[in-house]
């Protein structure tokens, strides 16, 4: 048995706990390579390979968790021993919901796995980075190329056994036109996130980022205020972390901390939202930390809230027949259950190119990217943040002058409320959320208004 044999390790830990407690074990073997570049050269190139053993156990409702990066017998005995001692000393958790019963995956265990990506090394990543920079029109580049392989196995003492293998690849980078007199540079961003390294087209991304950076040079200042906007996909993905973390989190709903009201039309009828790790565009594991297989979880249908996310514990506390939706996150007892594979789409499939949405804007802004967004209030989802990597004035349906970065303070719920979504783009793709929690599959959106509350530099 080796550290790279998750199944054998997980079975061993379940056996070690034996009949002393209910046990659930997740073993993940990760191999991650990351190539970072700045000022157009590679400055950091890192490789991490490790195996994590995550044990959850319960002694008559007294639950504890323990993790280790070690895989020798002594470490595994220590892991089980620490968790058992900890559980014995703590009070009973009245919300302990027991272990997941045996249930099979709803999709092939290698749905998000690409063997070629699993074998990518620093030389291939360096080639992708070089392609991005060489097609960057001579501009200064910065960003990263990452490849990851995860082999994951789950076993519990109730007989559940699951395994999942996934890969991921990402190239996310900017090209920069220096600002005059040390002022802000004009940056263009481009990115691809996929489970296949072959999907990363460094040259095409470099050309896109360069064109954006060039067109963003010499920006004008606009007065703060409410503007009609076309938010590109990266901006929309940024919003999604807030909806999943604070909004559709079943625990937050039960406790009254969320805006969500089941059955009500709280978002525009143009939008539907689901969480679906079995969607081929997504990345990551096909079961959650409790061993519940992932399935499509509808959250919003044509603007009407139809579901929230639960783990076993939050579902038990919610009552009313709620069951886990397979969204337990490791160590998430205090956070609740959070969607990690959302897909935002047009309710009736009526999607349009960004250029079509822009053509309908008399005066507004095209926004490429957001930065450092944080919630002022988790219930209303009022958040503040800034634009980044390109803002452009739209006048009479045409994209015109670049605009300096702006700060906004905006309720995300209000921004997507009924009547506010004027168009849904045909460009849905994976991009990072604004809390760096998950990637989301999101399209560009044409919104009636966005509240800009200040200029970034003045």
């Amino acid at each position: 048995m080796s550290a790279s044999d998750p199944a054998a390790l997980a079975e061993k830990v379940v056996e070690m706990v034996g009949r002393r407690a209910e046990a659930a074990v997740t073993v993940t073997h990760t191999r991650q390579g990351l190539t970072r570049f700045a000022n157009s050269f590679i400055h950091q190139n890192v490789v991490d390979e490790h195996t994590e053993v995550y044990l959850q156990l319960s002694l008559d409702g007294r639950a504890a968790t323990a993790t280790t990066y070690r895989s020798d017998d002594q470490a595994l005995e220590g892991l089980a021993g620490r968790a058992l001692v900890a559980a014995a000393l703590r009070p009973v958790d009245p919300a302990w919901a027991g272990l997941a019963s045996p249930a099979a995956l709803l999709s092939p265990s290698d749905l998000h796995y690409d063997p070629a990506t699993a074998g990518v090394g620093p030389a291939e990543r360096a080639e992708a980075v070089a392609a991005f920079v060489s097609d960057g029109d001579g501009l200064v580049g910065a960003g990263f190329c990452e490849t990851t392989r995860n082999d994951r196995y789950f076993a519990n003492s109730a007989g559940q056994r699951l395994d999942s293998h996934d890969t991921s690849a990402a190239l996310d980078a900017i090209l920069r036109v220096p600002g005059p007199d040390g002022g802000p540079s004009s940056d263009g961003v481009a990115s691809t996130y996929s489970f296949r390294f072959a999907d990363l087209d460094g040259e095409a991304l470099g050309r896109h980022a360069a064109a954006r950076a060039r067109s963003g040079a010499d920006p004008i200042e606009l007065p703060p205020g409410r503007y009609e906007v076309v938010l590109e996909a990266r901006c929309v993905a940024y919003l999604m972390d807030f909806f999943t973390f604070y909004g559709f989190n079943g625990r937050a709903v039960t406790e009254g901390r969320s805006f969500v009201a089941l059955g009500e039309r709280q978002l525009d009828r143009a939008l539907s939202l689901s969480d679906d790790a079995t969607d081929r565009r997504q990345l990551g594991p096909l079961f959650d930390a409790e061993g519940t297989p992932k399935r499509r979880a509808p959250l919003v249908d044509a603007g009407v809230v139809t579901g929230v996310t639960h783990d076993r514990r939050s579902a038990a506390k919610a009552g009313g027949g709620a069951t886990t939706t397979g969204h337990c996150i490791p160590g998430g007892e205090a956070l609740g259950a959070v969607a990690t594979a959302t897909v935002l789409e047009a309710a009736a499939g009526a999607v349009r190119p960004v250029s079509s949405m822009v053509s309908e804007v008399e005066r507004g802004l095209l926004v490429s990217d957001f930065w450092y967004t944080r919630a002022l209030d988790p219930k209303t989802l009022v958040a503040t943040g800034l634009t980044r990597n390109g803002v452009f004035l739209i006048e009479n349906g045409e994209v015109g002058r670049a605009v300096s970065n702006l700060r906004f303070t905006q309720s995300y719920v209000a921004a997507l409320a009924p009547g506010q979504v004027l168009g849904v783009g045909d460009d849905a793709r994976l991009a990072p959320g604004g809390l760096h929690f998950s990637l989301h599959c999101a399209p560009s959106l044409h919104l009636a208004a966005w509240n800009f509350t200040g200029n970034a530099s003045a």
């Binding site: 157009s40 050269f41 900890a86 703590r90 530099s457």
Partner: protein, 454 residues
Amino acid sequence: MVMATESMSAQNGEIEGLRHGERAGVGVRALIGSSWGFASTAELSSREARRAGQHAAETARASARLAGAPLEMAPVPAVHDHWESACAEDPLSVPLSEKAGLLASVTSVARAAGAQIAQASYDIWDTTKWLATSEGSRISQHIRECGAAMSATAIGDGETQRRSYPGIRGQYGTRGWELVRQLDLPGHAGRVGEEAVALLSAPVCPDRRCDLVLGSEQMALQIHESVGHATELDRILGWEAAFAGTSWLELSQLGSLRFGSPLMNITADATLPGALGSFGYDDEGTPAHRVDIVREGIWVGALSGRDSAALAGLPAGGMVRADGHNRIPMVRMTNIGLLPGTSSLEAMIAETDDGIYMDTNRSWSIDDRRLNFQFGCEVGYEVKGGRLGRVLRNPTYTGISPQFWGSLDRVGGEAEWQFWGTPNCGKGQPMQVGHTGHPSVPCRFRDVRVGVRG
């Protein structure tokens, strides 16, 4: 590096999470030309460590496909040494039943005071690390850190209100469990519950310009975001441009740029006993020391590692750390703090005719050049004619860093100097969680925009 962790969380009188963690392994960093290669192994054997070293070198070599100018390292003496943080009461040896009783008790009290959600938690890190460099250093360190946090949330029809103690992130230090005992969570549990409820019916902070008095907890956040990150040399050199961002500061301005008023004196001091950003040596073997960052309002220093310092022509800053054996060390804040002045919170309120006093951070956002910020606090108070007035909810303020710091006209004294600890500073790729310290005092700023809302 060998690290043991323990954490527990409670809500409304019930223990919800109890987690133990253990990580051990070897990380090897190799510099070839312009690039660092890094590889790690969790198998503690000479064979695996050697393999990680070879892997690190191979990875660095692969970077030659897109190389820059070779990096140099600012010199530090090779030393053989051992260092330990002070710890009066080993936090891992305090009985779990006692810790659980504390968290359950304080959340029950805060809940009984009217808050719908009362939460409390503690975290413990016990880290032993050994550094060996090809220059001859052999350094071992044993650092114990811990701290606790407590909050109460009241839920209204349209929003939530929250009060925390001792701050939004709690309080943490390189100390033992005596830190948690001194916090006296039970002595504050009822108050935070009552204050959270009272905030629901308080008037909203008005949108206007006025004088602003900030408590020391919010000042810690202000220093962290607008001074600490802005003066990180890796940002200034563009190494973090695509992700964490850059800085509005240019290296050519070091020593001459006015960052703030003459009352502004900021240091990076990794030697402060008990502060969360303290250690004996950083992860490059540079001994902990104090570096002036802003002196009488002038920008005079940067947070650096040996590579970035050499490039900038500076001595090694001693500010490079990794959050585990499997992460590459990078520039991190140590204890970035404001030196005390001569005023006090009481005196600056008495000297304010028309203003707002805010404290305890609730939201934070700053642009990727660390210039434009907007921060929200849990609670605000009107200040009229030198006296505290009504409580205000949803207080926020916004500004441009050098203008804001330029308006600083009162700095609290040594009696109010507090070493705040931030245990969750995210930076780098893959993301690393840094532990930073922020000594701070209450301060007053003139003519600030407050009350921004959505």
